[in-house]
């Protein structure tokens, strides 16, 4: 097939964004979204300020990512870098949670909880307060630049920037003691990196919430592309019911209204859509299932005395039933399915594993690395000496003495570099690094064997808890 340029205008090579002016809407889903916005933003802004007493030597901030000391604090839980698999587990749970919600309720994450949606919603709210509702904003958009337009735009941008500033400002409090950092920020004494992060997050919030908006979802975000694979014919999504609404038309008294469907073509669903689409065209890529069109349509149906739900949450399997005039499947049948059950079981299983790992972990730990350059040293009396690096982790909030020993007992002599005894003290919430020499007497079994399996023990003398690490002792081996 050849290119048919003649019949059409030559297409534009680059398309400008068509601005969208969502109209204000009232209803159940709008109220639900307000509630979710208050809760999620509340969690985001307030969490760093929650105090949590951990005793001396430890920070008293409930949620703190201490990058400098490589610690993550979450209420009563303290995570060290080597326990990061717990965080990986949380991320897997988050992923499975998204799969679960998507297979049951479609793009419910996009529509209600995604930060891009929540902040855009907030920015549109500000826009409406300052510039008015859809029609006023449309007029302002088309109006020539004058003092009034300049004043309104500047006011809006300043409020947006303040919100952005608060967003970036809250972010940095997760990485340092919030009250201290807040004081430093005000006094201009905070680290440069804090200001840099605030500036960059202020800018991105301003840009993404104020201007990029739906383009983030359509062009930049990979998640909408992936989640299409999670949805099936039983997934509840927002849909228009053409068999009830069509043929659409204005219900004038003179016209023969009987032939017309319930849709009065009032465009309410189109005008409230933050993505700028017409839901009556069917499911489409841009739709984030925010459900505001449901509220808009329900309001209209109530006004003209028709039942609600011309646009509603609906699954593909319901369409056939409803076209035949039968009632749709009950909602619980859409939600409790094999697929969602599998996701739930996986999600719960991983959650249980994390909780198990969290409760089973010890607050002391010993890590041993043999130093293998050289693997062993012959001493002047013919003894064989191996060297090990010990890392003794003390996650308690007091300095504890640890006694080092080795099993099997009686085969070796121990010596710690720079320490007279075999007891070392590890300060609170730190890892002590020590060099341990293990010496096998001349011609003893371990000195002659190639490898001897041993255990190195660290016993916390303050609590009598002990822990061990398995390693090997290298002797002269074969041919010696």
């Amino acid at each position: 097939m050849s290119s048919t340029g003649q019949e059409h205008e030559a297409p534009q090579l680059y398309a400008p964004r068509e601005p969208i002016f969502p109209r204000r809407v009232h209803g159940f889903y709008r109220n639900l979204k307000w509630a979710i916005m208050v809760v999620t933003l509340g969690i985001y802004y307030l969490t760093p300020w929650i105090r949590w007493d951990r005793g001396p030597n430890l920070p008293d901030q409930a949620v703190l990512v201490d990058l400098a000391n490589r610690r993550f604090f979450f209420f009563w839980i303290e995570i060290w870098p080597q326990e990061f698999y717990l965080v990986a587990g949380l991320l897997i749970m988050a992923g499975l949670g998204l799969f679960l919600f998507t297979s049951a309720l479609g793009r419910v994450w996009c529509g209600y909880a995604c930060p891009q949606t929540v902040w855009t919603d907030l920015f549109i709210l500000v826009e409406r307060w300052i510039e008015g509702d859809r029609n006023a904003r449309l007029r302002l958009h088309r109006a020539k630049w004058d003092l009034r337009k300049l004043r309104l735009r500047l006011t809006k941008w300043i409020v947006w920037l303040l919100i952005g500033l608060a967003t970036g400002g809250a972010w940095v409090f997760y990485f340092a003691d919030a009250p201290t950092l807040a004081k430093q920020l005000v006094e201009g004494q905070a680290p440069l990196i804090a200001y840099a992060f605030i500036a960059s997050l202020t800018f991105t919030t301003f840009l993404f919430g104020g201007f990029a908006r739906e383009q983030i979802c359509i062009y930049m975000c990979p998640w909408p592309r992936i989640q299409a694979a999670m949805m099936d014919e039983d997934t509840l999504t927002v849909a228009y019911k053409p068999w009830r609404g069509e043929p659409r038309g204005k219900h004038r008294k003179s016209a023969d209204a009987d032939k017309l469907g319930d849709c009065i073509d009032c465009m309410a669903c189109v005008n409230v859509c933050p993505m700028g689409i017409d839901i009556r065209d069917g499911q489409q890529m841009e739709c984030i299932t925010c459900a505001l069109c449901i509220d808009a349509c329900d309001t209209m149906m109530a006004k003209i005395g028709k039942p609600r739900g011309l646009i509603d949450y609906m699954a593909l399997t319901d369409e056939e039933l409803e076209r035949e005039g039968k009632p749709p499947k009950p909602i619980w049948k859409h939600i409790f399915r094999v697929r969602t059950m599998v996701y739930t079981v996986l999600w719960t299983g991983i959650g249980a594993l994390i909780v198990f790992a969290l409760f089973m972990r010890s607050d002391i730990d010993l890590n041993v690395s043999p130093l293998r350059n050289p693997v062993y040293v012959t001493l002047s009396d013919g003894s064989i000496r191996n060297t090990y690096k010990l890392r003794i982790r003390n996650m308690t909030n007091g300095a504890h003495p640890f006694e080092i020993s080795v099993t099997p007992k009686g085969m070796f002599k121990l010596k710690l570099q720079g320490v007279e005894s075999t007891t070392v003290t590890v300060p609170a919430d730190e890892t002590g690094t020590h060099k341990l020499f293990i010496i096998a007497p001349p011609d003893s079994p371990a000195a002659k064997a190639e490898l001897t399996e041993i255990r190195i023990w660290a016993e916390d003398k303050a609590t009598d808890k002990r822990t061990f690490a398995e390693t090997v002792f290298t002797g002269k081996g074969r041919g010696n």
Binding site: M1, S3, P11, Y14, A15, E18, N373, V377, F437, P442
Partner: protein
């Protein structure tokens, strides 16, 4: 939506068709275009500000900011030197045997010493300081010239048999090939093997005992346990610098051994010498 509009008007295609699947020629979003232009602008500004265009084999346009990664490294080194100045000064002023008692100095010396050792010492003594034939193992408990921190410090500073350093550690084992008969040397070999607990010919060893007392005991001691004032090795232990087998012992006695280590005073700074002395002292053999 812009996409919507394009779909409504039968869009142009590129004319490419694969199995009936045609390629749309839809417009790109304008923000994408501006990002593209901004990237080009960024690249141009970058090449003006930073070194970019090669102008000869010697280098490139320097850029208005005068940045170079070499200068950046030099600045980093200066910054670290400045930050370490106080501890570095302290390290060179306290008595050598006090360094390890100060945790701050010990930590500084261990880290610095490891780097000094890797750079200047590992070629002969090995990366793990376990030595090689003719190059002493520094992590065992056998020392030719002494294993205290002061001894090690002196050895590193002045070297061993290093002619251009007046204070170098010096001793010359005679070339016994010019003094003794080959048969006598064999008797000595058997005696040395006997005192180090190795397989030996008892008759030859007995004959060698007198030869040892006459020729060797002055430095290696009556009992063969060596002497540190001459750097004379202990011949009764399990550690051999060159080897304890008959052939190697014969070669050692016949031709002698005069291992040389450079003096590092003047080549390394006082601080570096102290760092590496502490590092060696902490590897397990320190006395």
């Amino acid at each position: 939506m812009s996409d919507k509009k394009m779909n409504d008007q039968d869009p142009n295609t590129t004319g490419h068709s694969w199995d009936g699947i045609e390629e749309f020629d839809n417009p790109l979003p304008r923000w994408w275009l501006w990002t593209f232009y901004a990237s080009i602008l960024f690249a141009i500004v970058w090449t003006i500000l930073y070194p970019a265009w090669p102008i000869s084999t010697k280098g490139a346009t320097p850029g208005l900011l005068g940045y170079s990664s070499r200068a950046a490294v030099a600045a980093d080194i200066e910054r670290y030197k400045k930050a370490n100045a106080a501890v570095d000064k302290k390290l060179t002023t306290v008595p050598v045997d006090q360094i390890e008692k100060d945790p701050e100095l010990l930590n500084y010396a261990l880290n610095g010493g490891a780097a000094v050792f890797r750079t200047w010492c590992a070629q002969c003594h090995g990366a793990g300081a376990s030595g090689a034939k003719g190059y002493p193992n520094l992590i065992d408990d056998d020392w030719l010239w002494g294993g205290t921190i002061d001894d090690i410090y002196t050895t590193v500073s002045h070297g061993i048999r290093y002619a251009s350093d007046e204070d170098t550690r010096d001793s010359q084992m005679p070339v016994f090939g010019e003094i003794l008969e080959p048969a006598e040397i064999q008797q000595l070999v058997q005696y040395v093997r006997s005192i180090s607990g190795q397989e030996h010919n008892a008759a030859a060893a007995a004959a060698g005992k007198t030869l040892f007392a006459d020729n060797c005991a002055a430095c290696h001691g009556e009992d063969g346990k060596g002497g540190r004032e001459f750097g004379a090795p202990n011949l009764t232990d399990q550690i051999w610098l060159y080897g304890g087998d008959v052939a190697t012992l014969t070669e050692t006695i016949t031709n002698s051994r005069h291992g040389v280590m450079p003096a590092w005073a003047g080549r390394l700074t006082e601080s570096q010498i102290r760092q590496v002395a502490v590092w060696v002292h902490q590897q397990g053999g320190g006395e």
